[in-house]
Amino acid sequence: MLRYQQADPAATTELIRQVSPLLFRFLLNQSRDRPEAEDLLQDTWLRIHKSRHTHRPGEPVLPWMFAIARHVKVDGFRRSYRIRSKELTMSELPEIAQPTTSRASTPDFDSLIAALPASQREVVCMLKVSGMSLEEVARATSSTVGSVKLKAHRAYEKLRSILRSSDDVV
């Protein structure tokens, strides 16, 4: 990160290659579709680049980047919500495709956590996909470690109940 701040192109390329997949997974889990997540990732990097001086040397990098990504995501949703709310008044509602998960096999990560509320999905994604620690997630989401633990605990409870009910149906 320090070499990125010092304008080292090799270090910057390496940083982009290492962090982009993590940010993309996070944004993909939070957004409605892939093109939207791709746009959000580009916006996130532009924002990170513009404010790269705000990272203090010695501080962890991932909470700083995810806090910015989270902010870009919220801004992006607000913008797309405004656009959608205007578009829906003129066109017909599109038919929403039903998820095609096999009940017999283990559901994949994405379809499983899609059932969670946004705040819990965000925490599970940061913990399990990005491999961040509880303290790092707390920093990125501007909440306490206790609150992160609680959200994660509720998310896992809910996921277990979803798996149980899907098995009951089968």
Partner: protein, 261 residues
Amino acid sequence: MSCEDLDRLRSSSSDHSSTWSAEAKAHLSTCPRCAQLQESLDSAPDDLLPDALQRSIEAQILPGLTAVTPLPGVAWIATNLILSSIFIATLANWHLGVAGWRARSDLQLFVDLALLAVAIGTLAKTLAVRMMPGSSDTKPLAGYVAAPLIALAVADLLLFGYRWNPNFFPIALWCWEIGITCAAISAPLFWMILRRGLWLNRVAQCAATGLLAGLVGVAVLEIYCPYLDRLHIGAGHIGAALTASLVGAAVGAVLDRIERR
């Protein structure tokens, strides 16, 4: 180990299940539900980013890459904010006088100034820390704004008596104007110190900066104003800090709106 215990273990660590204790692994092998959930969580894919997107990001960033100076340390920024506060308060009281200092008892003076010093120091530190997104201070900023105002109001109630003054409104308005003027002089100075930060919650951060400027006004008034009436201090002195904080929040909301356009 029960399913709930395993949930607690998952919630308190981001580690892969392969690093768990033998007891947790034993539960996973006997409970199909937990095993199924863990399999899904461990299967989180990590290689989905298209190469074209990666290259596009690099193409956007690398050509305009220039060296930047990172933010100064928290202590340096907080010290600057505190010294600026002291400088403005000293200058204002040098101009207005210290009749309030003389009129107050030792206890009143000590409690008032100690509360103000703690509030200004804490606000300066939290603002300095929060210039960097994802900082270690994750407590809600609203608490930092509310706590000094509540503490000052409680101290006002406990330390000062009430005596109706027929000139209450003009005197309170006079003090409020002095407080607001001091805040208006302090705010641009604070903005100069804090402007390089990235404010993700602009409304809350501008409200906190407004309150810090307002507290400088309160400090000036506590030293200057000899009217020791709790209603006067509440409306004219603490009211000025509250107004400065509200104005800060409004400015933050406007800036936020402009940025989102």
